[in-house]
Amino acid sequence: MNCKDIRELLKSDYLDNEAGLRQEQDVKEHLDRCPECRAVEKKLRSQRLLFENAGRFQPPEQVWRNIREAIVNERMKEEDPVRPTLIERLRGLIWSQRPVFAVVRVMAMMIFAVVLAGGILRRQQLINQEINSDIISAYSFSSDNGELARDMGTSIEEYFL
Protein backbone atom coordinates (compact mmCIF):
# COMPACT_ATOMS: atom_id res chain seq x y z
CA MET A 1 0.00 0.00 0.00
CA ASN A 2 1.21 3.52 -0.80
CA CYS A 3 0.91 6.64 1.36
CA LYS A 4 -2.44 7.61 -0.20
CA ASP A 5 -4.02 4.25 0.68
CA ILE A 6 -2.59 4.38 4.18
CA ARG A 7 -3.96 7.89 4.78
CA GLU A 8 -7.41 6.82 3.61
CA LEU A 9 -7.31 4.04 6.19
CA LEU A 10 -5.96 6.40 8.83
CA LYS A 11 -8.94 8.73 8.35
CA SER A 12 -11.44 5.91 8.69
CA ASP A 13 -11.10 2.23 9.61
CA TYR A 14 -7.71 2.37 11.31
CA LEU A 15 -8.56 5.32 13.53
CA ASP A 16 -11.98 3.88 14.35
CA ASN A 17 -10.75 0.35 15.08
CA GLU A 18 -12.81 -0.99 12.22
CA ALA A 19 -9.86 -2.30 10.18
CA GLY A 20 -9.16 -6.01 9.88
CA LEU A 21 -6.02 -7.53 11.42
CA ARG A 22 -4.19 -7.63 8.08
CA GLN A 23 -5.01 -3.97 7.28
CA GLU A 24 -4.00 -2.88 10.76
CA GLN A 25 -0.68 -4.67 10.46
CA ASP A 26 -0.01 -3.10 7.05
CA VAL A 27 -0.73 0.38 8.40
CA LYS A 28 1.52 -0.12 11.42
CA GLU A 29 4.40 -1.34 9.29
CA HIS A 30 3.99 1.63 6.94
CA LEU A 31 3.87 4.10 9.83
CA ASP A 32 7.14 2.67 11.19
CA ARG A 33 9.00 3.67 8.06
CA CYS A 34 7.03 6.79 6.87
CA PRO A 35 7.40 10.01 8.94
CA GLU A 36 4.86 11.96 6.78
CA CYS A 37 2.09 9.43 7.43
CA ARG A 38 3.07 9.34 11.10
CA ALA A 39 2.57 13.10 11.21
CA VAL A 40 -0.91 12.71 9.69
CA GLU A 41 -1.78 10.06 12.26
CA LYS A 42 -0.57 12.34 15.04
CA LYS A 43 -2.76 15.21 13.80
CA LEU A 44 -5.77 12.95 13.53
CA ARG A 45 -5.29 11.67 17.05
CA SER A 46 -4.83 15.16 18.48
CA GLN A 47 -8.07 16.20 16.76
CA ARG A 48 -9.79 13.20 18.26
CA LEU A 49 -8.85 14.52 21.70
CA LEU A 50 -11.16 17.49 21.10
CA PHE A 51 -14.06 15.11 20.68
CA GLU A 52 -13.03 12.89 23.57
CA ASN A 53 -12.90 15.89 25.88
CA ALA A 54 -16.22 17.25 24.63
CA GLY A 55 -18.61 17.95 27.46
CA ARG A 56 -21.80 15.97 27.88
CA PHE A 57 -24.78 18.11 28.70
CA GLN A 58 -28.18 17.40 30.11
CA PRO A 59 -31.23 19.16 28.74
CA PRO A 60 -32.72 21.75 31.10
CA GLU A 61 -35.57 20.57 33.36
CA GLN A 62 -37.97 22.75 31.42
CA VAL A 63 -37.68 20.44 28.41
CA TRP A 64 -39.29 17.51 30.25
CA ARG A 65 -41.96 19.81 31.71
CA ASN A 66 -42.84 21.00 28.19
CA ILE A 67 -43.00 17.44 26.88
CA ARG A 68 -45.17 16.34 29.79
CA GLU A 69 -47.51 19.26 29.28
CA ALA A 70 -47.77 18.54 25.55
CA ILE A 71 -48.58 14.88 26.25
CA VAL A 72 -51.26 15.78 28.81
CA ASN A 73 -52.82 18.26 26.36
CA GLU A 74 -52.79 15.66 23.59
CA ARG A 75 -54.47 13.13 25.85
CA MET A 76 -57.17 15.61 26.86
CA LYS A 77 -57.91 16.24 23.20
CA GLU A 78 -58.06 12.50 22.52
CA GLU A 79 -60.37 11.86 25.45
CA ASP A 80 -62.68 14.78 24.74
CA PRO A 81 -62.45 15.53 21.08
CA VAL A 82 -64.36 18.65 20.20
CA ARG A 83 -65.60 17.88 16.74
CA PRO A 84 -65.81 20.92 14.54
CA THR A 85 -69.18 21.72 13.07
CA LEU A 86 -69.70 21.81 9.30
CA ILE A 87 -69.59 25.61 9.32
CA GLU A 88 -66.34 25.58 11.31
CA ARG A 89 -64.82 23.10 8.86
CA LEU A 90 -65.89 25.22 5.90
CA ARG A 91 -64.54 28.32 7.61
CA GLY A 92 -61.28 26.47 8.23
CA LEU A 93 -61.08 25.48 4.57
CA ILE A 94 -61.88 28.97 3.33
CA TRP A 95 -59.34 30.66 5.57
CA SER A 96 -56.74 27.93 5.32
CA GLN A 97 -53.14 29.15 4.91
CA ARG A 98 -52.37 26.55 2.23
CA PRO A 99 -51.34 28.11 -1.11
CA VAL A 100 -53.96 26.13 -3.04
CA PHE A 101 -56.74 27.61 -0.90
CA ALA A 102 -55.26 31.08 -1.25
CA VAL A 103 -55.35 30.71 -5.06
CA VAL A 104 -58.94 29.43 -4.94
CA ARG A 105 -59.87 32.36 -2.69
CA VAL A 106 -58.36 34.89 -5.10
CA MET A 107 -60.04 33.24 -8.09
CA ALA A 108 -63.40 33.19 -6.31
CA MET A 109 -63.02 36.88 -5.48
CA MET A 110 -62.13 37.66 -9.10
CA ILE A 111 -65.13 35.71 -10.43
CA PHE A 112 -67.39 37.45 -7.93
CA ALA A 113 -66.00 40.85 -8.98
CA VAL A 114 -66.53 40.05 -12.69
CA VAL A 115 -70.09 38.83 -12.12
CA LEU A 116 -70.89 41.87 -10.00
CA ALA A 117 -69.38 44.28 -12.53
CA GLY A 118 -71.23 42.49 -15.36
CA GLY A 119 -74.53 42.82 -13.50
CA ILE A 120 -74.00 46.52 -12.85
CA LEU A 121 -73.08 47.19 -16.47
CA ARG A 122 -76.07 45.24 -17.75
CA ARG A 123 -78.40 47.14 -15.46
CA GLN A 124 -76.88 50.43 -16.60
CA GLN A 125 -77.36 49.36 -20.21
CA LEU A 126 -81.02 48.57 -19.63
CA ILE A 127 -81.57 51.93 -17.95
CA ASN A 128 -79.85 53.71 -20.84
CA GLN A 129 -81.92 51.79 -23.37
CA GLU A 130 -85.10 52.73 -21.51
CA ILE A 131 -84.14 56.40 -21.42
CA ASN A 132 -83.22 56.38 -25.10
CA SER A 133 -86.49 54.76 -26.10
CA ASP A 134 -88.36 57.34 -24.04
CA ILE A 135 -86.56 60.20 -25.76
CA ILE A 136 -87.08 58.70 -29.17
CA SER A 137 -90.78 58.20 -28.60
CA ALA A 138 -91.12 61.61 -27.06
CA TYR A 139 -89.59 63.41 -30.02
CA SER A 140 -91.07 61.20 -32.72
CA PHE A 141 -93.63 62.86 -35.06
CA SER A 142 -95.11 59.70 -36.28
CA SER A 143 -96.99 57.10 -34.48
CA ASP A 144 -97.77 53.57 -35.43
CA ASN A 145 -100.78 54.53 -37.61
CA GLY A 146 -98.97 57.39 -39.31
CA GLU A 147 -100.64 60.17 -37.31
CA LEU A 148 -98.81 62.87 -35.43
CA ALA A 149 -98.02 62.17 -31.88
CA ARG A 150 -100.47 63.62 -29.40
CA ASP A 151 -98.07 64.44 -26.67
CA MET A 152 -95.82 66.80 -28.52
CA GLY A 153 -96.24 69.81 -26.27
CA THR A 154 -98.72 72.38 -25.07
CA SER A 155 -102.22 72.70 -26.46
CA ILE A 156 -101.28 75.94 -28.35
CA GLU A 157 -98.45 74.14 -30.10
CA GLU A 158 -100.74 71.31 -30.94
CA TYR A 159 -103.32 73.80 -32.33
CA PHE A 160 -100.78 75.32 -34.72
CA LEU A 161 -99.45 72.01 -35.74
Binding site: Q47, A54, G55, R56, W64, I67, A70, R75
Partner: protein
Protein backbone atom coordinates in the same frame (compact mmCIF):
# COMPACT_ATOMS: atom_id res chain seq x y z
CA UNK B 1 -16.76 5.96 24.48
CA UNK B 2 -19.14 3.14 23.70
CA UNK B 3 -19.71 2.93 27.46
CA UNK B 4 -21.73 6.10 27.14
CA UNK B 5 -24.12 4.31 24.82
CA UNK B 6 -24.16 1.15 26.83
CA UNK B 7 -25.38 3.18 29.78
CA UNK B 8 -27.70 5.05 27.51
CA UNK B 9 -30.94 3.32 26.71
CA UNK B 10 -29.65 -0.08 27.82
CA UNK B 11 -31.36 0.42 31.14
CA UNK B 12 -34.69 0.74 29.36
CA UNK B 13 -36.27 -2.66 29.80
CA UNK B 14 -38.83 -4.15 27.47
CA UNK B 15 -41.30 -3.84 30.32
CA UNK B 16 -40.75 -0.08 30.64
CA UNK B 17 -41.09 0.38 26.89
CA UNK B 18 -44.35 -1.57 26.86
CA UNK B 19 -45.74 0.44 29.77
CA UNK B 20 -44.70 3.68 28.10
CA UNK B 21 -46.31 2.56 24.85
CA UNK B 22 -49.56 1.99 26.75
CA UNK B 23 -49.52 5.58 27.94
CA UNK B 24 -47.84 5.18 31.35
CA UNK B 25 -46.35 8.63 31.86
CA UNK B 26 -43.98 7.52 34.64
CA UNK B 27 -42.55 4.83 32.36
CA UNK B 28 -42.21 7.38 29.59
CA UNK B 29 -40.34 9.68 31.97
CA UNK B 30 -37.86 6.84 32.58
CA UNK B 31 -37.43 6.47 28.83
CA UNK B 32 -36.84 10.21 28.65
CA UNK B 33 -34.28 10.18 31.47
CA UNK B 34 -32.41 7.36 29.84
CA UNK B 35 -32.33 8.73 26.28
CA UNK B 36 -32.55 12.50 26.66
CA UNK B 37 -28.79 12.91 27.20
CA UNK B 38 -28.00 11.29 23.86
CA UNK B 39 -30.77 13.15 22.05
CA UNK B 40 -29.84 16.54 23.51
CA UNK B 41 -26.10 16.17 22.92
CA UNK B 42 -26.46 15.06 19.31
CA UNK B 43 -28.99 17.84 18.71
CA UNK B 44 -26.63 20.35 20.30
CA UNK B 45 -23.67 19.31 18.13
CA UNK B 46 -25.64 19.15 14.90
CA UNK B 47 -27.83 22.20 15.37
CA UNK B 48 -25.09 24.19 17.17
CA UNK B 49 -27.58 26.13 19.22
CA UNK B 50 -28.87 25.31 22.70
CA UNK B 51 -32.38 26.69 22.06
CA UNK B 52 -32.62 24.62 18.86
CA UNK B 53 -31.29 21.56 20.69
CA UNK B 54 -34.06 21.92 23.28
CA UNK B 55 -36.68 22.17 20.55
CA UNK B 56 -35.24 19.15 18.76
CA UNK B 57 -35.29 17.18 22.04
CA UNK B 58 -38.96 18.04 22.55
CA UNK B 59 -39.81 17.11 18.96
CA UNK B 60 -37.97 13.80 19.21
CA UNK B 61 -39.72 12.75 22.41
CA UNK B 62 -43.13 13.75 21.12
CA UNK B 63 -42.46 11.57 18.05
CA UNK B 64 -41.35 8.73 20.32
CA UNK B 65 -44.48 9.11 22.46
CA UNK B 66 -46.81 9.11 19.44
CA UNK B 67 -45.19 6.15 17.72
CA UNK B 68 -43.95 3.99 20.57
CA UNK B 69 -46.59 1.31 20.06
CA UNK B 70 -44.91 0.19 16.85
CA UNK B 71 -41.65 -0.76 18.59
CA UNK B 72 -41.27 -4.17 20.18
CA UNK B 73 -37.52 -4.67 20.47
CA UNK B 74 -34.98 -2.67 22.36
CA UNK B 75 -32.29 -2.69 19.63
CA UNK B 76 -34.77 -1.39 17.09
CA UNK B 77 -35.80 1.24 19.62
CA UNK B 78 -32.22 2.48 20.02
CA UNK B 79 -31.60 2.66 16.30
CA UNK B 80 -34.95 4.35 15.85
CA UNK B 81 -34.11 6.99 18.47
CA UNK B 82 -30.73 7.65 16.79
CA UNK B 83 -32.45 8.07 13.44
CA UNK B 84 -35.21 10.38 14.66
CA UNK B 85 -32.67 12.47 16.55
CA UNK B 86 -30.30 12.96 13.62
CA UNK B 87 -33.09 13.61 11.13
CA UNK B 88 -34.83 16.08 13.44
CA UNK B 89 -31.56 17.86 14.22
CA UNK B 90 -30.60 18.16 10.53
CA UNK B 91 -34.10 19.36 9.58
CA UNK B 92 -34.07 21.89 12.38
CA UNK B 93 -30.62 23.10 11.34
CA UNK B 94 -31.77 23.56 7.73
CA UNK B 95 -34.87 25.37 8.87
CA UNK B 96 -32.88 27.70 11.09
CA UNK B 97 -30.46 28.33 8.19
CA UNK B 98 -33.41 29.33 6.02
CA UNK B 99 -34.57 31.68 8.71
CA UNK B 100 -31.01 33.01 9.12
CA UNK B 101 -31.05 32.25 12.78
CA UNK B 102 -28.17 29.80 12.73
CA UNK B 103 -25.77 31.89 14.70
CA UNK B 104 -23.65 29.67 16.94
CA UNK B 105 -24.79 30.07 20.51
CA UNK B 106 -21.51 29.59 22.31
CA UNK B 107 -22.71 31.34 25.42
CA UNK B 108 -25.71 29.04 25.62
CA UNK B 109 -23.45 26.00 25.76
CA UNK B 110 -20.88 27.44 28.08
CA UNK B 111 -23.59 28.25 30.60
CA UNK B 112 -24.70 24.64 30.66
CA UNK B 113 -21.25 23.18 31.39
CA UNK B 114 -21.58 21.26 34.66
CA UNK B 115 -20.46 23.20 37.71
CA UNK B 116 -17.85 20.72 39.01
CA UNK B 117 -14.11 21.40 38.63
CA UNK B 118 -11.90 24.39 39.16
CA UNK B 119 -12.04 27.65 37.23
CA UNK B 120 -8.97 26.54 35.26
CA UNK B 121 -10.68 23.25 34.31
CA UNK B 122 -13.72 25.16 33.19
CA UNK B 123 -11.60 27.52 31.11
CA UNK B 124 -9.92 24.53 29.42
CA UNK B 125 -13.27 22.89 28.78
CA UNK B 126 -14.75 26.10 27.40
CA UNK B 127 -11.77 26.47 25.10
CA UNK B 128 -12.21 22.87 23.97
CA UNK B 129 -15.92 23.50 23.29
CA UNK B 130 -15.21 26.63 21.31
CA UNK B 131 -12.60 24.90 19.14
CA UNK B 132 -14.80 21.87 18.64
CA UNK B 133 -17.76 23.96 17.59
CA UNK B 134 -15.64 26.00 15.21
CA UNK B 135 -14.45 22.77 13.56
CA UNK B 136 -17.91 21.24 13.36
CA UNK B 137 -19.19 24.36 11.68
CA UNK B 138 -16.90 23.64 8.74
CA UNK B 139 -18.86 20.49 7.92
CA UNK B 140 -22.18 19.86 6.24
CA UNK B 141 -24.94 18.65 8.61
CA UNK B 142 -24.66 15.08 7.24
CA UNK B 143 -20.89 14.90 7.73
CA UNK B 144 -21.22 16.54 11.12
CA UNK B 145 -23.87 14.02 12.20
CA UNK B 146 -21.66 11.09 11.13
CA UNK B 147 -18.65 12.47 12.98
CA UNK B 148 -20.64 13.25 16.13
CA UNK B 149 -22.20 9.77 16.20
CA UNK B 150 -18.77 8.20 15.80
CA UNK B 151 -16.50 10.45 17.84
CA UNK B 152 -18.74 11.68 20.62
CA UNK B 153 -21.41 9.00 20.90
CA UNK B 154 -19.12 6.11 19.97
CA UNK B 155 -21.42 4.35 17.49
CA UNK B 156 -19.88 1.72 15.22
CA UNK B 157 -19.99 2.06 11.44
CA UNK B 158 -22.81 -0.49 11.35
CA UNK B 159 -24.84 1.41 13.93
CA UNK B 160 -24.35 4.72 12.13
CA UNK B 161 -25.35 3.12 8.80
CA UNK B 162 -28.49 1.62 10.36
CA UNK B 163 -29.37 4.87 12.13
CA UNK B 164 -28.99 7.06 9.07
CA UNK B 165 -30.25 4.39 6.63
CA UNK B 166 -27.13 4.68 4.49
CA UNK B 167 -24.57 2.04 3.36
CA UNK B 168 -21.53 1.43 5.57
CA UNK B 169 -19.29 2.64 2.74
CA UNK B 170 -21.11 5.98 2.76
CA UNK B 171 -20.45 6.25 6.50
CA UNK B 172 -16.79 5.52 5.81
CA UNK B 173 -16.51 8.11 3.04
CA UNK B 174 -18.34 10.77 5.06
CA UNK B 175 -15.99 10.25 7.98
CA UNK B 176 -12.96 10.46 5.67
CA UNK B 177 -14.18 13.68 4.10
CA UNK B 178 -15.05 15.20 7.46
CA UNK B 179 -11.63 14.38 8.88
CA UNK B 180 -9.90 15.59 5.74
CA UNK B 181 -11.73 18.93 6.05
CA UNK B 182 -10.69 19.21 9.70
CA UNK B 183 -7.07 18.39 8.83
CA UNK B 184 -7.05 21.04 6.12
CA UNK B 185 -8.43 23.60 8.54
CA UNK B 186 -5.84 22.63 11.14
CA UNK B 187 -3.15 23.16 8.47
CA UNK B 188 -4.49 26.63 7.68
CA UNK B 189 -4.62 27.52 11.38
CA UNK B 190 -1.03 26.37 11.83
CA UNK B 191 0.15 28.50 8.89
CA UNK B 192 -1.69 31.51 10.33
CA UNK B 193 -0.14 30.93 13.75
CA UNK B 194 3.34 30.74 12.21
CA UNK B 195 2.76 33.98 10.29
Amino acid sequence: MSNILEGLMNDISQDILEKASQGDLEAFERVYKSASGFVYNVALRVSRNSADAQEVTQDVFMKIYRNLKGFQFRSAFRTWVYRITVNSAINHYRKSCREEKDKADYQGIIETIPGSGSAADKAVQNDNETRLKALLELLSPQHRACLVLREIEGLSYQEIAASLKIPVNTVRSRLKRARQALLEQAGKDQVQDEL
